[in-house]
Structure formats: C-alpha cells, structure tokens
C-alpha cells in the first residue's frame, strides 16, 4: 500500500503569529518534546464535533474535564475490555484525540468478567440510577447557582468580628472559585456515568440490525430507538407554546418592537410575561453552539434570540401553519418501522433477541438524548454566568478590560490572579494584575486570532489499518471509511462532489448559505441550504426555513441528522470539507439518500 499518512504533530506548519500558543494551556496539554516518541507513534483526529474552533485558555477546562472523565469510566470504573481512555492534546488551539486501546488479548480477556459485573449493574438498575442522576444534577446545579462572586469589601462586616469568624472575604472568594471548579469537574464525572454504556447498548442493537439486514439504512435503526419526546426538543417546544400564547392573547404585535427590552416593556404585566418567566428557567439555558465555548450565546442571556424565533412562529401560526410536531404520527411511524423489520427476521429466536436489544437500547437512550441539555446547556450556562460574575469582579479591580476577558486566563491561573487581588487587598497596596493581565490578555488574543486562521488538519500521524476502538466509532463516528475520505481529500482530485453520511433522505437543490458561527443564523433565507461545520440543538427553529442541511462534522445521530429527519429535509453530514469548499450563494444539490453534495455552479 502506498505511503499514506497524515502530518506529524511536530512537522505540521502552524499559522504565523501563533508563537507562544503553548503557554495558553495547562502544561500537559500541548504536544511536547517530552513525549514526542509516543505522540508521534499514534493516530490523532481533530474533534471538530465539540471543539471546532481554537480554545481560549479557560474554555480548555471543559475539554480537559470532559475527556478525562470519559476516560476514567472506561479505564477505572467499568473496565471496558478493549478500551482505555481517550488521550487528548492541543495543537495551535485545536483539540486532537487518540483512543488508547488495550492491546494484550489476555488483559482484554481478564477485563471481561469485571466489565460484565460492573456494567451489568448499571444496565440492570438503569431507570433507578437515571432517576437518581437527574436528582444529582439538579442538586449540583443548585449548588453552583448558590455561589456568588462579589468584589472584596472595603472593610469586613461587623458580624465577622462579633461572631468571631476569624476569617475574611478574600479566603471566601478563593474557596468559591475552587468549589466552582470542583463542581464543574463533578458535572463531567456525572456526564459520563451513563454515556459510554448507553452508546454500547445502542451499538449492540445497531450491530444486530446490520447483521440481520446488511443493507438496512443507519437511519432506520436510529428511528427505531430514538425517543419521540426528548428534553433537547423542549426549548423549541416552549418557543412554540409562547408563540401560541401570544396569538391567543392578541399581543403578537409586541414582537415587532426593535429590541428585546422593548418587547418586554410592551408585554409587561400581561399573562404572556408570566408564561415567559416560567419557560425560561431552565429551558432557555440553551446555547446557540455546543455549550463548550464562552462565545456561544445563551438564550436566557440573549433573549433577542428566542424572541426572534417566537416572532417567526407567530408568523407561521398567522399563516395557518401547524407548528406542532405530530407526536402521534411519529409514534405510529416508529411502531410501524419496528414491527416491519421484526417481521422480516429469520427466526423466532431472532425476534426475541431483537426485542430484547431494542428494549435495552430504548432504556438507555433517554439518557443519551437528554444529558446534553442538563450538562452542556443548562449546567454550562450556569458556570459561564458565574465566571462572568467573577470576570466583573476582575473588571472592577482593573485586572480586565471586559468581563469575557476572564476566559483568556487559564483555570489555575485564576487562583493566582485571585491571590494577587486578595494579597494587595490584604496588604493595602496595588496588585500587579492591573498591569500584567491587560497586557497578557491582549497578547493571548493576538495568538488565538492567528490560530483561528489555521486550517487544522482533520487528523495527524499514522492512520490505523482498521478502526476498531469502539468509542472512536460510537462517539465520534470515525471509521476506516472516514479516514480514507480524509486521506483522499488531500489529493485534490475530488471533482465537484463532497461525500458524507446519508443522514436524512431526499434530494434538494438551492443556494448554499455557509454559517460559520451562530451569529450568522439570521442571514438564512427561506429555501436556502444550510452549510455549517456543525449544528446545535438551539438552531432547531431555522430548520423550518431551509431546504436541506450539510455539515462538516457528525454522523447519523448528529443533531443536524436528527432534526432533518424530523422535518423531512435532506441532510448530508460529516463531509469534512463542506464549509471550506462551498461558497455562499453557490447552487448545490444535496442527496441525503446517497450522502452526496454536488456543486452545480
């Protein structure tokens, strides 16, 4: 076989002006000479599903917490027989992952009974444990919500003296920040308590269907398992209810007001405002992105976003359109699909196994579908708000020029900055931070701007013969086919076609609208084809407008795939290069049945 490999992380050329990028992260995160021989010996893929853009120093926290927590469950909790964790690095701000397999067959063998005992307990008690999980997450969120960051007082309150507390506000703010970090790590431990097992059960059903029906479309399997009512759809449902309420109350003109503040001023005192207030927490703790970046806007903090969607729904209702998801029809269709495939199986034993595996997949799937709202949307929104509170404290002390600059400080450096602030407050002199941080943050912004210009390669290092690591396949949808596609794309003989997953059937032609950030969503015109690196659940309302969707990243179970199937729109996901190949306004044809995107112009 010809020498086909991806560039080494040590040879790949970085963007000009990015010098010093390594200093933006925990020392263990960048590729380094210290571990070069290991790092060069394995295959790394860029995780554009979760981290398509360069990470700011604080946002790298989520990356590290998430991947370490995922790994910990495979390696130390459940002893997944063939898999340890996922190793992770950063290169010029971009996230690169490599799965760590268990290679010794004897060790795999030895892990099997332990896995069965441990995972078996979870599968057997899934519903109880999941109920407890929801309660745990809600407690955790309440605990985070209770944390507040305030500037240090000019002098301590009298009670500190009279109650003999013997400690002051400077300790508290440092403690609270550390507590927030610990809660954030706990959040990610909870996140992976179920996820890997859930995907394993899903993949088992998937494998059974593929063996029984070698040509069954992936989406048929997804359709049989997916829930009809899912928490992730709930924010969109709430928007629809608010739109209906507005029409019912005859207050729909209020949405024509020029700003969110004006809309609320007009609606003040109406029952609609009560409905809004009831819906917004928790459901509008909803990120316009994947929830991992502080830049992604959160509905509850940017009410103009949900209000804009509500206005669109109001217009649809006025035009006589039914905006409800046809739940009964969706359920009936799901039952039909299951019954027909079941009837086509060869034997009664197969039908029994099919029902059992489907049963387990459906038991685990609510977690797979719902956790995202609780963790990445709701909890992250809370953490980002708390961090901004802290940012405001730093702004007030002159450490930062603006609130969001706090995300340009590494998570552990914040302890040092708090120390500097506290220490100067205690001593009664000036901190160094007021000079140091504005200068340092300006430098970091320049570096990250340079990194943003970089075209991060989809993979690094030696490609594996065959991808066997189950979580790479399950969680990232990376298969030998996608690797070959990346290798082939570099050849430059691709012609006018892009290939990806046939994620939602049908064919559509139209002008492309390339959306690189959630802020551009408003540019979408009816009938256009959405072309984006990836879509987020909070984009749901725009799917009523577009005629098809194409993404760089994601597989059959990606958000764009699920929503397009729901809306009956063609979708091709995981094309890797759509946003870099297709230009705004170019006419394209999307064939969601074959996974092909053709550039027509």
């Amino acid at each position: 076989m010809a020498e086909r490999r991806f560039p080494s992380p040590f040879e790949v050329e970085g963007p000009g002006g990015s010098e010093g990028w390594e200093e933006l992260y925990t020392y263990s995160l960048p590729f380094s000479e210290d571990r070069r021989s290991y790092e060069e010996s394995v295959f790394w893929f860029q995780d554009g599903i979760h981290w398509p853009d360069p990470l700011t120093p604080w946002d790298a926290t989520w990356y590290e917490y998430a991947i370490a927590s995922l790994s910990q469950y495979n390696t130390r909790h459940y002893l997944i027989p063939p898999a340890l964790g996922i190793d992770y690095r950063v290169l010029y701000g971009y996230a690169y992952l490599t799965p760590v397999p268990v290679t010794d067959p004897a060790e795999i063998e030895a892990r099997v009974p332990q896995f069965m005992e441990r995972a078996g307990f979870y599968f057997m008690n899934w519903n109880d444990l999941y109920d407890r999980w929801v309660a745990k997450i809600k407690d955790l969120i309440a605990e985070m919500e209770a944390i507040t960051f305030e500037p240090l007082p000019e002098k301590e309150e009298m009670e500190v003296i009279t109650e003999g507390r013997g400690m002051g506000s400077g300790l508290k703010i440092q403690e609270d920040y550390r507590r927030l970090l610990n809660l954030a790590l706990k959040l990610w431990q909870y996140h992976f308590e179920f996820l890997n097992l859930g995907y394993a059960a899903y993949l088992d059903f998937f494998g059974f269907c593929k063996e029984a029906f070698p040509n069954i479309p992936d989406l048929a399997i997804a359709k049989m398992v997916a829930g009809v009512e899912v928490d992730l759809f709930r924010p969109d449902e709430e928007l629809k209810k608010l739109a209906e309420k507005a029409v019912e109350l005859g207050v729909e003109d209020a949405f024509d007001a020029p700003s969110a503040g004006d809309v609320f001023a007009r609606l003040e005192g109406t029952p609609w405002m009560d409905a809004w207030n009831e819906a917004k927490y928790p459901w509008f703790n909803f990120s316009t992105g994947g929830g991992f970046y502080h830049q992604d806007k959160i509905w509850i903090d940017h009410p103009e976003i949900p209000l804009g969607y509500i206005k669109n729904y109001v217009a649809k209702i006025k035009a006589g359109e039914d905006i409800h998801r046809p739940l009964e029809e969706l359920r009936a269709e799901r039952d039909r699909v299951v019954a027909e495939y079941e009837a086509l199986l060869a034997t009664d034993e197969d039908r029994e196994a099919f029902r059992q595996k489907l049963g387990l997949a459906r038991t685990v799937f609510p977690y797979v579908e719902n956790h995202n709202f609780y963790v990445e949307h709701w909890s992250h929104s809370v953490v980002f708000r708390k961090m901004r509170e802290l940012g405001n404290v730093f702004v007030k002390e002159g450490f930062l020029e603006s609130t969001d600059d706090v995300f340009y400080i590494k998570r552990d450096e914040i302890n040092e900055a708090l120390w500097d602030m506290y220490s100067a407050w205690a001593v009664g002199t000036s901190p160094r931070g007021t000079e140091y941080w504005p200068r340092e943050i300006a430098r970091r912004k320049r570096i990250l701007d340079a990194c943003k210009q970089w075209n991060a390669p989809p993979a690094l290092g030696e490609p594996p013969e065959v991808v066997t690591e189950p979580f790479t396949i399950m969680l990232w949808g990376i298969t030998s086919d996608s690797i070959n596609m990346w290798l082939g794309a570099g050849d430059g003989d691709g012609g006018g076609d892009l290939n990806g997953f046939a994620a939602s059937p049908g064919v559509a032609e139209g002008p492309a609208r390339v959306i690189l950030s959630p802020d551009q969503i408003g540019d979408l015109q009816p009938g256009e084809i959405l072309v984006a690196p990836i879509t987020a659940p909070s984009w749901a309302p725009v799917f009523g407008k577009i005629s098809a969707a194409v993404t760089d990243i994601g597989g059959m179970m990606s958000h764009a795939a699920i929503v397009c199937r729901e809306y009956g729109l063609p979708a091709v996901t995981g094309t890797a290069f759509a946003t870099t190949t297709i230009e705004n306004g170019t006419r394209i044809r999307v064939d969601g049945s074959t996974g092909t995107v053709t550039i027509l112009d």
């Binding site: 063939p82 998937f206 593929k210 069954i216 699909v337 189950p470």
Partner: protein
C-alpha cells in the same frame, strides 16, 4: 360445456388447471388489486379442439413416430414440420369466434382500436420442462387486430412442439398426445422502462431490501439478459434507495416505424442516464412489496412503466412468482443461542460492526 375463453378477473379456484400457471397467477394478482393489465385466457379446452381434427392428428403422430431423437437435424425438421401443420390447420370456428370476440371486448374496455396485446403460452405444469422454457420461446409482443391475435394463439399452441419440447417429453415419458396448454392474451403497455424486481437482495438474501433491475423500453431486454440493467436497492420498510448502480445500457426493445417491437441501439444520451427516477424506483418497490405481502413470501416480479398512464399511476405488474434461490435455503439466524444481552454488548465492543464490514471487504480485495 366447454369454455374456450376466461377473463383474468373471472376465475374460480377450479379454473386453474384450465388456464395454466401464467394466467392463474395473473388472475390472482388482479384479484389482489395489483395493477395488472387486463386480458383473458384461451383455455386448454381450446387447444384440445386440435384433437378433433383427425387428419392433423394422424399426420402429427406419424411424423413424431419417425423422428430420430439423436439427430438434431431430424429433430429440428420434424419440429418445423409439425409446427407448420398446426399453424396451417384452420382454427376451430367456435374457438376462433370466442377469441376474436374477447379481443374486441378488450379493445372496447381499453378504449383503443386494435389494442396491442402480448400473447403468451400458459403452461400447465407437467407439459413443459419449466416456466422459463415456455416463456422464452413463444411470446408474441405487440400483436394487434383480431386475425393476428388468433394466429398468435395458434403459434403458441405449436410451440409445444419445439425440438427441445419434443425431446424433453420423450426423455421424461410424457405422451405427446395428451399434453395441452392455455394461452394468455393481455393488453400490452408501451413501456418507457421495464425490468424485474426481487423482494430481497439477491446478492446476500437481505429481506429488508427490494432489488430492482431496470432498463429502457420493453422488459425483454432485461429478462433475456441482453442488457446490463441499472440496479437499485430500496429499503422495504422506509423506501429509502440504499444503493444505485447505473449501467451503460447498449440496446433496447422499442416499437419501430411499422408498429413492431425490435431491438435497437440505445441513443448515446440515454445510455448512462438512469432508466428510472427516484419517484419511479419507489413506486416499483412499493408494488413489489404489495406482491410479497399478498403471497406471504419473497417474490420475483416483472414490471413495466407505462408511457400512456399518468405519472404516479404508471407502474404495472406483469408477473409475480416466488423467489426460489434464497427462499429454499435454511434461514440464517443472527441471535447466538445462549448469549445474553451483556455477552452481546461485550462482543459488540470487541468487534464493532463497522470493523467487521471493513475486515470482510479488506480480506476480499487483498489479492
């Protein structure tokens, strides 16, 4: 009383031996409300009127007694001679009246003067080696006018005496004199495209799929194997097109200027064009699924896309028979006996399905 003609939609169960397998099957499909073009059976009683002609009978008997079965030339000569005798002898007037009257009725029902029909033999099982043998030799396409129809019926009758049929009956000990056959006269569609379909994937037996072979013009090009057809795979439950292979289609059977079906090269601009639209692919698949539902087992169908019918309503079913290759094999169960849910998950983790596919294809293509 002898009945020489029976309409496809008028059979009773007891009529089946009188109309032969082909006609019986068409009648059953019509009864199941599948879109089968109308027509009628010329029954075995009609064929049996040949026996009333004592001179014909003795001439045929004599010729067959003299044939040297080991000599292909002699066999061929005898066959030609016997067939000429049958085709030249006048048709029984009652049969002729019945056939012509039914044909006129069909023309009236279709609202077409001299409606084109296909005239095919409809064998009763014992008479001929196999159905495909019968079907290949004696199909007359695009027959128009009552005289031409009557003549085509006679030519079907005579096809019982092809060289192969004579020698087959000799080998198997069937009596030349008691054999019989029925003939199907069916309105013909003028197809844009036509072909066959299986209600499973013939390459791997996957029952969740419908495999469609399709090419331009009359279906004979696909059935005879003279063209490499387009091939489509459609999921039977979701009606997703799961695979499409467009082949260069070199020839097609089309109507020529003198209203006859003939083989012609496919013009360049259509050779590599898909012979069916997505919508049509799904329509064919849906009809195939209905046929399978009706019979309760996998089917092998012939279909055509009628130019003269409105879009969405233009797929017609020409034949449906049980699929025989995969249906005869023992079922291949997927469930591993004694394997619990957790064992299944462990083996899934140890060998995810994508890997298995990949390993299989890598192994297959390595050398």
């Amino acid at each position: 009383m002898r009945e020489f003609v029976l309409w496809f939609d008028q059979y009773r169960e007891s009529d089946k031996p009188r109309v032969g397998g082909k006609c019986a099957s068409l009648g059953e499909l019509i009864a199941a409300e599948l879109p089968v073009p109308p027509g009628f059976a010329v029954t075995v009683e009609a064929y049996d009127t040949l026996r009333d002609d004592t001179e014909l009978r003795s001439n045929v008997r004599k010729a067959l007694a003299e044939v040297d079965l080991d000599d292909p030339d002699s066999l061929e000569l005898t066959s030609r001679y016997v067939r000429d005798l049958i085709e030249a002898s006048p048709m029984n007037p009652e049969v002729e009246r019945a056939v012509k009257a039914s044909y006129r009725e069909l023309c009236a029902a279709c609202g077409v003067e001299d409606v084109p029909v296909a005239v095919r033999s409809s064998a009763t099982a014992e008479d001929l080696p196999d159905a495909s043998f019968a079907g290949q030799q004696d199909t007359f396409l695009w027959v128009r006018g009552e005289d031409a129809v009557a003549r085509a019926v006679q030519r079907c009758w005579s096809s019982l005496f092809t060289a192969r049929a004579i020698s087959y009956r000799h080998e198997t000990g069937h009596d030349h004199e008691i054999i019989s056959m029925a003939v199907a006269v069916q309105k013909m569609v003028h197809p844009k495209a036509a072909g066959v379909a299986f209600t499973l994937n013939p390459t791997d037996g996957d029952r969740s799929q419908i495999a469609i072979d399709s090419s331009w013009g009359f279906g004979e090009a696909v059935v005879s194997g003279e063209v490499t057809p387009d091939n489509f795979l459609v999921d039977k439950v979701l009606f997703e097109i799961t695979r499409r292979t467009i082949s260069p289609k070199a020839i097609e059977y089309v109507l020529n200027g003198s209203d006859r079906v003939e083989k012609a090269p496919v013009p360049d601009d259509r050779r590599l064009a898909p012979s069916l639209t997505d919508h049509e692919i799904v329509a064919v698949a849906k009809m195939a699924k209905r046929a399978e539902r009706h019979y309760g087992r996998p089917q092998d169908i012939e279909w055509a896309l009628d130019r003269d019918l409105p879009e969405g309503d233009n797929v017609v079913l020409l034949q449906s028979r049980p699929e025989t290759v995969w249906s005869r094999r023992a079922p291949r169960p997927v469930a591993r006996p004694g394997q619990g849910l957790l064992d299944g998950i462990v083996s899934t983790l140890l060998s995810p399905v994508h890997t298995r596919d990949r390993l299989a294809t890598t192994e297959g293509s390595d050398m």
